[in-house]
Protein backbone atom coordinates (compact mmCIF):
# COMPACT_ATOMS: atom_id res chain seq x y z
CA UNK A 1 0.00 0.00 0.00
CA UNK A 2 1.20 3.53 -0.76
CA UNK A 3 2.29 5.76 2.07
CA UNK A 4 0.71 9.17 1.57
CA UNK A 5 2.12 12.29 3.16
CA UNK A 6 -0.09 14.95 4.70
CA UNK A 7 1.17 18.39 5.51
CA UNK A 8 0.44 19.80 8.94
CA UNK A 9 -1.90 22.41 7.40
CA UNK A 10 -3.85 19.69 5.58
CA UNK A 11 -4.19 17.69 8.77
CA UNK A 12 -5.34 20.78 10.67
CA UNK A 13 -8.07 21.39 8.07
CA UNK A 14 -9.00 17.71 8.03
CA UNK A 15 -9.49 17.78 11.81
CA UNK A 16 -11.79 20.79 11.57
CA UNK A 17 -13.77 19.28 8.67
CA UNK A 18 -14.10 15.97 10.41
CA UNK A 19 -15.53 17.71 13.45
CA UNK A 20 -17.79 20.09 11.53
CA UNK A 21 -19.53 17.35 9.55
CA UNK A 22 -23.20 17.50 10.29
CA UNK A 23 -22.76 18.45 13.95
CA UNK A 24 -22.94 22.23 13.61
CA UNK A 25 -26.21 21.76 11.81
CA UNK A 26 -27.92 19.46 14.31
CA UNK A 27 -26.30 20.21 17.67
CA UNK A 28 -27.37 23.86 18.29
CA UNK A 29 -31.07 22.97 18.29
CA UNK A 30 -30.64 20.34 21.03
CA UNK A 31 -28.34 22.62 22.99
CA UNK A 32 -30.64 25.63 22.89
CA UNK A 33 -33.64 23.44 23.72
CA UNK A 34 -32.33 22.60 27.16
CA UNK A 35 -29.68 25.16 28.06
CA UNK A 36 -31.40 28.24 26.60
CA UNK A 37 -29.25 31.37 26.50
CA UNK A 38 -26.14 29.81 27.97
CA UNK A 39 -26.01 27.03 25.40
CA UNK A 40 -23.16 28.69 23.52
CA UNK A 41 -20.92 28.03 26.53
CA UNK A 42 -21.48 24.26 26.44
CA UNK A 43 -19.37 23.65 23.29
CA UNK A 44 -16.52 25.48 25.01
CA UNK A 45 -16.77 23.24 28.07
CA UNK A 46 -17.14 20.06 25.99
CA UNK A 47 -14.22 21.17 23.79
CA UNK A 48 -11.98 21.87 26.79
CA UNK A 49 -12.70 18.46 28.32
CA UNK A 50 -12.15 16.69 25.01
CA UNK A 51 -8.85 18.47 24.47
CA UNK A 52 -7.71 17.05 27.82
CA UNK A 53 -8.85 13.58 26.74
CA UNK A 54 -7.24 14.11 23.32
CA UNK A 55 -3.89 14.53 25.10
CA UNK A 56 -4.41 10.96 26.29
CA UNK A 57 -5.00 9.78 22.71
CA UNK A 58 -1.95 11.65 21.52
CA UNK A 59 0.14 10.20 24.33
CA UNK A 60 -0.93 6.75 23.16
CA UNK A 61 -0.07 7.64 19.56
CA UNK A 62 3.32 9.06 20.58
CA UNK A 63 4.26 5.76 22.22
CA UNK A 64 3.90 4.05 18.87
CA UNK A 65 5.09 6.53 16.25
CA UNK A 66 4.39 5.63 12.62
CA UNK A 67 1.66 3.26 13.81
CA UNK A 68 -2.01 3.78 13.11
CA UNK A 69 -4.73 3.10 15.67
CA UNK A 70 -5.38 -0.37 14.22
CA UNK A 71 -1.70 -1.24 14.27
CA UNK A 72 -1.45 0.02 17.87
CA UNK A 73 -4.40 -2.20 18.84
CA UNK A 74 -2.71 -5.22 17.23
CA UNK A 75 0.64 -4.43 18.80
CA UNK A 76 -0.71 -3.82 22.29
CA UNK A 77 -3.48 -6.41 22.41
CA UNK A 78 -1.80 -9.20 20.51
CA UNK A 79 -3.37 -11.33 17.82
CA UNK A 80 -6.84 -12.01 19.25
CA UNK A 81 -7.59 -9.23 21.74
CA UNK A 82 -5.88 -6.68 19.49
CA UNK A 83 -7.90 -7.94 16.54
CA UNK A 84 -11.08 -7.56 18.59
CA UNK A 85 -10.15 -3.99 19.57
CA UNK A 86 -9.31 -3.17 15.96
CA UNK A 87 -12.63 -4.59 14.81
CA UNK A 88 -14.40 -2.44 17.41
CA UNK A 89 -12.75 0.68 16.00
CA UNK A 90 -13.57 -0.35 12.44
CA UNK A 91 -17.16 -0.81 13.54
CA UNK A 92 -17.06 2.66 15.16
CA UNK A 93 -15.93 4.19 11.85
CA UNK A 94 -18.67 2.30 10.07
CA UNK A 95 -21.21 3.51 12.60
CA UNK A 96 -20.15 7.15 12.22
CA UNK A 97 -20.20 6.87 8.44
CA UNK A 98 -23.71 5.43 8.45
CA UNK A 99 -25.01 8.03 10.93
CA UNK A 100 -23.64 10.92 8.97
CA UNK A 101 -24.89 9.39 5.72
CA UNK A 102 -28.34 9.21 7.30
CA UNK A 103 -27.99 12.82 8.44
CA UNK A 104 -27.48 14.00 4.87
CA UNK A 105 -30.33 11.77 3.71
CA UNK A 106 -32.67 13.18 6.35
CA UNK A 107 -31.70 16.74 5.55
CA UNK A 108 -31.98 16.40 1.79
CA UNK A 109 -35.28 14.58 1.97
CA UNK A 110 -36.78 17.00 4.44
CA UNK A 111 -35.68 20.22 2.85
CA UNK A 112 -34.53 19.87 -0.74
CA UNK A 113 -36.11 16.91 -2.50
CA UNK A 114 -39.00 15.48 -0.48
CA UNK A 115 -40.19 12.97 -3.08
CA UNK A 116 -36.84 11.31 -3.76
CA UNK A 117 -36.27 8.05 -1.82
CA UNK A 118 -33.75 8.58 0.96
CA UNK A 119 -31.65 5.62 -0.24
CA UNK A 120 -30.89 7.43 -3.46
CA UNK A 121 -29.14 10.23 -1.59
CA UNK A 122 -27.18 7.67 0.39
CA UNK A 123 -26.10 5.63 -2.60
CA UNK A 124 -25.22 8.59 -4.81
CA UNK A 125 -23.26 10.18 -2.00
CA UNK A 126 -21.49 6.96 -1.06
CA UNK A 127 -20.49 6.28 -4.66
CA UNK A 128 -18.52 9.52 -4.77
CA UNK A 129 -17.11 8.86 -1.34
CA UNK A 130 -16.08 5.36 -2.34
CA UNK A 131 -14.23 6.88 -5.29
CA UNK A 132 -12.56 9.39 -2.97
CA UNK A 133 -11.50 6.67 -0.56
CA UNK A 134 -10.03 4.58 -3.37
CA UNK A 135 -8.03 7.62 -4.48
CA UNK A 136 -6.62 7.98 -0.98
CA UNK A 137 -6.33 10.37 1.90
CA UNK A 138 -4.06 12.83 0.07
CA UNK A 139 -6.82 13.35 -2.52
CA UNK A 140 -9.38 13.89 0.25
CA UNK A 141 -7.00 16.24 2.05
CA UNK A 142 -6.37 18.29 -1.08
CA UNK A 143 -10.11 18.50 -1.83
CA UNK A 144 -10.67 19.60 1.73
CA UNK A 145 -7.90 22.17 1.46
CA UNK A 146 -9.79 23.72 -1.42
CA UNK A 147 -13.32 23.40 -0.04
CA UNK A 148 -13.04 24.24 3.66
CA UNK A 149 -11.82 27.85 3.26
CA UNK A 150 -14.68 28.46 0.78
CA UNK A 151 -17.14 26.96 3.25
CA UNK A 152 -15.90 29.07 6.17
CA UNK A 153 -15.84 32.28 4.11
CA UNK A 154 -19.37 31.62 2.76
CA UNK A 155 -20.58 30.91 6.26
CA UNK A 156 -19.19 34.21 7.52
CA UNK A 157 -20.69 36.13 4.60
CA UNK A 158 -24.06 34.56 5.35
CA UNK A 159 -23.65 35.49 9.01
CA UNK A 160 -23.02 39.08 7.98
CA UNK A 161 -26.17 39.09 5.86
CA UNK A 162 -28.29 38.12 8.84
CA UNK A 163 -27.04 40.94 11.08
CA UNK A 164 -30.25 42.99 10.51
CA UNK A 165 -32.12 40.23 12.34
CA UNK A 166 -29.75 40.31 15.32
CA UNK A 167 -31.24 41.28 18.69
CA UNK A 168 -29.22 41.41 21.90
CA UNK A 169 -32.47 41.08 23.87
CA UNK A 170 -32.60 37.48 22.77
CA UNK A 171 -29.83 36.72 25.25
CA UNK A 172 -31.98 37.86 28.11
CA UNK A 173 -33.86 37.10 30.23
CA UNK A 174 -31.85 34.09 31.26
CA UNK A 175 -34.71 31.63 31.03
CA UNK A 176 -34.65 28.90 33.66
CA UNK A 177 -32.67 26.02 32.26
CA UNK A 178 -32.25 22.43 33.26
CA UNK A 179 -28.81 21.88 34.88
CA UNK A 180 -28.99 18.10 34.60
CA UNK A 181 -29.93 18.32 30.95
CA UNK A 182 -27.11 20.80 30.35
CA UNK A 183 -24.55 18.44 31.87
CA UNK A 184 -25.99 15.59 29.81
CA UNK A 185 -25.86 17.80 26.73
CA UNK A 186 -22.21 18.59 27.34
CA UNK A 187 -21.38 14.92 27.70
CA UNK A 188 -23.35 14.04 24.57
CA UNK A 189 -21.56 16.84 22.77
CA UNK A 190 -18.25 15.27 23.75
CA UNK A 191 -19.39 12.02 22.15
CA UNK A 192 -20.76 13.65 19.01
CA UNK A 193 -18.75 15.12 17.39
CA UNK A 194 -15.66 15.42 19.61
CA UNK A 195 -14.90 11.75 20.39
CA UNK A 196 -15.46 10.86 16.76
CA UNK A 197 -12.24 12.67 15.92
CA UNK A 198 -10.40 9.81 17.63
CA UNK A 199 -10.80 7.91 14.37
CA UNK A 200 -8.28 10.37 12.91
CA UNK A 201 -5.65 8.40 14.85
CA UNK A 202 -5.85 5.95 11.95
CA UNK A 203 -4.35 8.52 9.58
CA UNK A 204 -2.12 10.35 12.04
CA UNK A 205 1.02 8.37 11.03
CA UNK A 206 0.75 9.90 7.55
CA UNK A 207 1.18 13.43 8.82
CA UNK A 208 4.65 14.76 8.07
CA UNK A 209 5.15 16.89 11.18
CA UNK A 210 3.44 18.70 14.07
CA UNK A 211 0.51 16.27 13.99
CA UNK A 212 -0.30 16.60 17.71
CA UNK A 213 -0.21 20.37 17.71
CA UNK A 214 -2.43 20.62 14.64
CA UNK A 215 -4.87 18.05 15.94
CA UNK A 216 -5.36 20.01 19.16
CA UNK A 217 -5.42 23.31 17.29
CA UNK A 218 -8.07 22.00 14.91
CA UNK A 219 -10.13 20.83 17.84
CA UNK A 220 -9.78 24.24 19.52
CA UNK A 221 -10.77 26.08 16.34
CA UNK A 222 -13.81 23.86 15.88
CA UNK A 223 -14.84 24.40 19.51
CA UNK A 224 -14.78 28.15 18.94
CA UNK A 225 -16.65 27.77 15.65
CA UNK A 226 -19.43 25.66 17.18
CA UNK A 227 -19.76 28.07 20.07
CA UNK A 228 -19.92 30.98 17.64
CA UNK A 229 -22.56 29.28 15.50
CA UNK A 230 -24.70 28.59 18.57
CA UNK A 231 -24.24 32.17 19.78
CA UNK A 232 -25.19 33.44 16.37
CA UNK A 233 -28.26 31.22 16.19
CA UNK A 234 -29.51 32.51 19.55
CA UNK A 235 -28.92 36.11 18.48
CA UNK A 236 -30.67 35.85 15.14
CA UNK A 237 -33.34 33.23 15.65
CA UNK A 238 -33.99 33.48 19.37
CA UNK A 239 -34.18 30.73 21.95
CA UNK A 240 -37.82 29.81 21.33
CA UNK A 241 -37.60 29.27 17.61
CA UNK A 242 -34.17 27.65 17.52
CA UNK A 243 -35.18 25.13 20.16
CA UNK A 244 -38.18 24.12 18.06
CA UNK A 245 -36.41 23.97 14.69
CA UNK A 246 -34.58 20.83 13.60
CA UNK A 247 -32.16 22.78 11.43
CA UNK A 248 -31.94 26.26 12.97
CA UNK A 249 -29.11 27.35 10.68
CA UNK A 250 -31.19 26.41 7.65
CA UNK A 251 -34.17 28.34 9.05
CA UNK A 252 -32.01 31.44 9.49
CA UNK A 253 -30.79 31.27 5.92
CA UNK A 254 -34.33 30.69 4.71
CA UNK A 255 -35.33 33.96 6.30
CA UNK A 256 -32.54 36.12 4.95
CA UNK A 257 -34.09 39.00 3.07
CA UNK A 258 -31.68 41.38 1.46
CA UNK A 259 -34.40 42.91 -0.65
CA UNK A 260 -37.85 41.68 -1.73
CA UNK A 261 -36.08 40.26 -4.76
CA UNK A 262 -33.15 38.56 -3.02
CA UNK A 263 -34.42 36.19 -0.39
CA UNK A 264 -34.39 32.47 0.44
CA UNK A 265 -30.66 31.80 0.47
CA UNK A 266 -31.05 28.38 2.02
CA UNK A 267 -29.52 26.58 -0.96
CA UNK A 268 -26.20 28.15 -0.02
CA UNK A 269 -26.30 26.61 3.43
CA UNK A 270 -27.37 23.30 1.90
CA UNK A 271 -24.26 23.41 -0.27
CA UNK A 272 -22.15 24.08 2.82
CA UNK A 273 -23.70 21.12 4.60
CA UNK A 274 -23.21 18.85 1.59
CA UNK A 275 -19.56 19.89 1.38
CA UNK A 276 -18.75 19.45 5.06
CA UNK A 277 -20.58 16.15 5.25
CA UNK A 278 -18.83 14.94 2.10
CA UNK A 279 -15.44 15.57 3.69
CA UNK A 280 -16.46 14.00 7.00
CA UNK A 281 -17.85 10.84 5.44
CA UNK A 282 -14.86 10.62 3.12
CA UNK A 283 -12.51 10.65 6.10
CA UNK A 284 -14.44 8.13 8.20
CA UNK A 285 -15.10 5.90 5.19
CA UNK A 286 -11.43 6.02 4.30
CA UNK A 287 -10.50 5.26 7.94
CA UNK A 288 -12.87 2.31 7.89
CA UNK A 289 -11.45 0.95 4.62
CA UNK A 290 -7.88 1.56 5.72
CA UNK A 291 -8.59 -0.07 9.07
CA UNK A 292 -9.90 -3.22 7.35
CA UNK A 293 -6.92 -3.23 4.98
CA UNK A 294 -4.45 -2.87 7.85
CA UNK A 295 -6.18 -5.51 9.92
CA UNK A 296 -6.20 -8.07 7.13
CA UNK A 297 -2.95 -6.80 5.58
CA UNK A 298 -4.39 -6.02 2.18
CA UNK A 299 -2.70 -3.83 -0.38
CA UNK A 300 -5.62 -2.75 -2.55
CA UNK A 301 -8.38 -0.65 -1.02
CA UNK A 302 -10.70 -0.85 -4.05
CA UNK A 303 -12.36 -4.18 -3.31
CA UNK A 304 -12.99 -3.28 0.29
CA UNK A 305 -14.42 0.13 -0.58
CA UNK A 306 -16.98 -1.07 -3.11
CA UNK A 307 -19.02 -3.57 -1.04
CA UNK A 308 -18.91 -1.19 1.91
CA UNK A 309 -21.35 1.06 0.00
CA UNK A 310 -23.97 -1.66 0.36
CA UNK A 311 -23.24 -2.18 4.03
CA UNK A 312 -23.10 1.51 4.99
CA UNK A 313 -26.25 2.40 3.07
CA UNK A 314 -27.98 -0.52 4.78
CA UNK A 315 -26.90 0.45 8.28
CA UNK A 316 -27.84 4.06 7.52
CA UNK A 317 -31.44 2.88 7.24
CA UNK A 318 -31.40 1.50 10.80
CA UNK A 319 -33.12 4.49 12.34
CA UNK A 320 -36.71 4.80 11.29
CA UNK A 321 -36.77 8.57 11.40
CA UNK A 322 -35.07 11.61 12.90
CA UNK A 323 -37.03 11.28 16.16
CA UNK A 324 -35.53 7.85 16.82
CA UNK A 325 -32.13 9.25 15.88
CA UNK A 326 -32.41 12.15 18.35
CA UNK A 327 -33.77 9.86 21.06
CA UNK A 328 -30.86 7.44 20.65
CA UNK A 329 -28.41 10.33 20.69
CA UNK A 330 -29.84 11.72 23.92
CA UNK A 331 -29.87 8.33 25.65
CA UNK A 332 -26.78 6.49 24.50
CA UNK A 333 -24.42 8.81 22.60
CA UNK A 334 -22.10 9.45 25.51
CA UNK A 335 -21.93 5.86 26.73
CA UNK A 336 -21.24 4.67 23.18
CA UNK A 337 -18.67 7.41 22.51
CA UNK A 338 -16.96 6.95 25.88
CA UNK A 339 -16.22 3.30 25.06
CA UNK A 340 -14.18 4.32 22.02
CA UNK A 341 -12.95 7.69 23.25
CA UNK A 342 -12.05 6.96 26.90
CA UNK A 343 -12.31 3.31 27.95
CA UNK A 344 -10.51 1.59 25.06
CA UNK A 345 -7.68 4.18 24.88
CA UNK A 346 -7.22 3.84 28.65
CA UNK A 347 -7.07 0.05 28.37
CA UNK A 348 -4.60 0.32 25.50
CA UNK A 349 -2.44 2.75 27.48
CA UNK A 350 -2.56 0.62 30.60
CA UNK A 351 -1.65 -2.57 28.75
CA UNK A 352 1.14 -0.87 26.82
CA UNK A 353 2.45 0.58 30.12
CA UNK A 354 2.39 -2.86 31.77
CA UNK A 355 4.09 -4.40 28.73
CA UNK A 356 6.84 -1.80 28.70
CA UNK A 357 7.32 -2.20 32.44
CA UNK A 358 7.58 -5.99 32.21
CA UNK A 359 9.92 -5.71 29.21
CA UNK A 360 12.16 -3.40 31.18
CA UNK A 361 12.16 -5.78 34.11
CA UNK A 362 13.00 -8.68 31.80
CA UNK A 363 15.90 -6.63 30.38
CA UNK A 364 17.08 -5.83 33.89
CA UNK A 365 16.95 -9.51 34.84
CA UNK A 366 18.79 -10.40 31.63
CA UNK A 367 21.55 -7.88 32.49
Amino acid sequence: MERPQLSSWQFFLLTISHLIGSAFFYIPSTLVGTSKQISWILPLIAGAFTIIIACLWLHLASQYPKHSLIQICLKVGGKYVGCFFALLYIWYCLQITSWVTRDIGNFAKMTLLPHTPITMFHIMFLLIICYASIKGIDTIARTNELLLPIVIITLFILFLLTIPDWKWERFEPLLPFDWNASVKNTSNLMAFPFFESFTLMIIIPYVKNKAKKNFLLGMGCYTLLLSMVTFFIIGTLGVVRSSHAIYPLYTIMQEIQISPLIEHLESTISMILLTTIFVKISITYYCCVLGICQLFQLKDRTWVSIPLILLVSGIAMAFEDIVEDVDWYNKYAFANGALYGIILPLILLAVSGIRKFSNRQKENIAK
Binding site: L298, I309, G314, E320, A335
Partner: protein
Protein backbone atom coordinates in the same frame (compact mmCIF):
# COMPACT_ATOMS: atom_id res chain seq x y z
CA UNK B 1 -37.22 -7.08 -3.98
CA UNK B 2 -36.74 -8.58 -7.43
CA UNK B 3 -35.04 -5.39 -8.68
CA UNK B 4 -32.66 -5.46 -5.73
CA UNK B 5 -31.90 -9.16 -6.16
CA UNK B 6 -31.24 -8.68 -9.86
CA UNK B 7 -29.08 -5.64 -9.25
CA UNK B 8 -27.11 -7.41 -6.55
CA UNK B 9 -26.61 -10.61 -8.52
CA UNK B 10 -25.46 -8.79 -11.64
CA UNK B 11 -23.09 -6.42 -9.91
CA UNK B 12 -21.78 -9.13 -7.58
CA UNK B 13 -21.06 -11.45 -10.49
CA UNK B 14 -19.35 -8.69 -12.48
CA UNK B 15 -17.19 -7.82 -9.49
CA UNK B 16 -16.26 -11.46 -8.90
CA UNK B 17 -15.34 -11.92 -12.56
CA UNK B 18 -13.09 -8.87 -12.41
CA UNK B 19 -11.56 -10.07 -9.13
CA UNK B 20 -10.76 -13.51 -10.52
CA UNK B 21 -9.62 -12.13 -13.86
CA UNK B 22 -7.15 -9.79 -12.16
CA UNK B 23 -5.92 -12.68 -10.01
CA UNK B 24 -6.47 -10.87 -6.76
CA UNK B 25 -5.22 -12.49 -3.55
CA UNK B 26 -7.61 -14.97 -1.98
CA UNK B 27 -7.84 -12.93 1.22
CA UNK B 28 -9.10 -9.95 -0.75
CA UNK B 29 -11.75 -12.02 -2.52
CA UNK B 30 -12.97 -13.58 0.74
CA UNK B 31 -13.17 -10.18 2.40
CA UNK B 32 -15.06 -8.77 -0.59
CA UNK B 33 -17.56 -11.62 -0.47
CA UNK B 34 -17.97 -11.32 3.31
CA UNK B 35 -18.66 -7.57 3.26
CA UNK B 36 -20.95 -7.89 0.24
CA UNK B 37 -22.89 -10.70 1.93
CA UNK B 38 -23.21 -8.67 5.14
CA UNK B 39 -24.54 -5.74 3.13
CA UNK B 40 -26.85 -8.05 1.20
CA UNK B 41 -28.23 -9.55 4.41
CA UNK B 42 -28.78 -6.09 5.85
CA UNK B 43 -30.65 -4.96 2.74
CA UNK B 44 -32.76 -8.11 2.68
CA UNK B 45 -33.70 -7.41 6.31
CA UNK B 46 -34.72 -3.88 5.27
CA UNK B 47 -36.73 -5.06 2.28
CA UNK B 48 -38.53 -7.75 4.29
CA UNK B 49 -39.31 -5.09 6.93
CA UNK B 50 -37.39 -6.90 9.66
CA UNK B 51 -34.95 -4.07 9.86
CA UNK B 52 -31.64 -4.95 11.50
CA UNK B 53 -30.93 -2.07 13.84
CA UNK B 54 -27.46 -2.25 15.40
CA UNK B 55 -28.12 0.98 17.32
CA UNK B 56 -31.01 -0.70 19.10
CA UNK B 57 -28.72 -3.56 20.17
CA UNK B 58 -26.08 -1.14 21.36
CA UNK B 59 -28.79 0.65 23.36
CA UNK B 60 -29.89 -2.64 24.97
CA UNK B 61 -26.29 -3.53 25.86
CA UNK B 62 -25.68 -0.07 27.40
CA UNK B 63 -28.95 -0.36 29.35
CA UNK B 64 -27.94 -3.78 30.66
CA UNK B 65 -24.48 -2.57 31.71
CA UNK B 66 -25.90 0.50 33.47
CA UNK B 67 -28.50 -1.75 35.17
CA UNK B 68 -25.74 -3.90 36.67
Amino acid sequence: MITFLLFFLISFTICLIILFKNKKPRKEIILFITIAMLGFADWISIITRHNFNPNKWIGIIIDQISFW
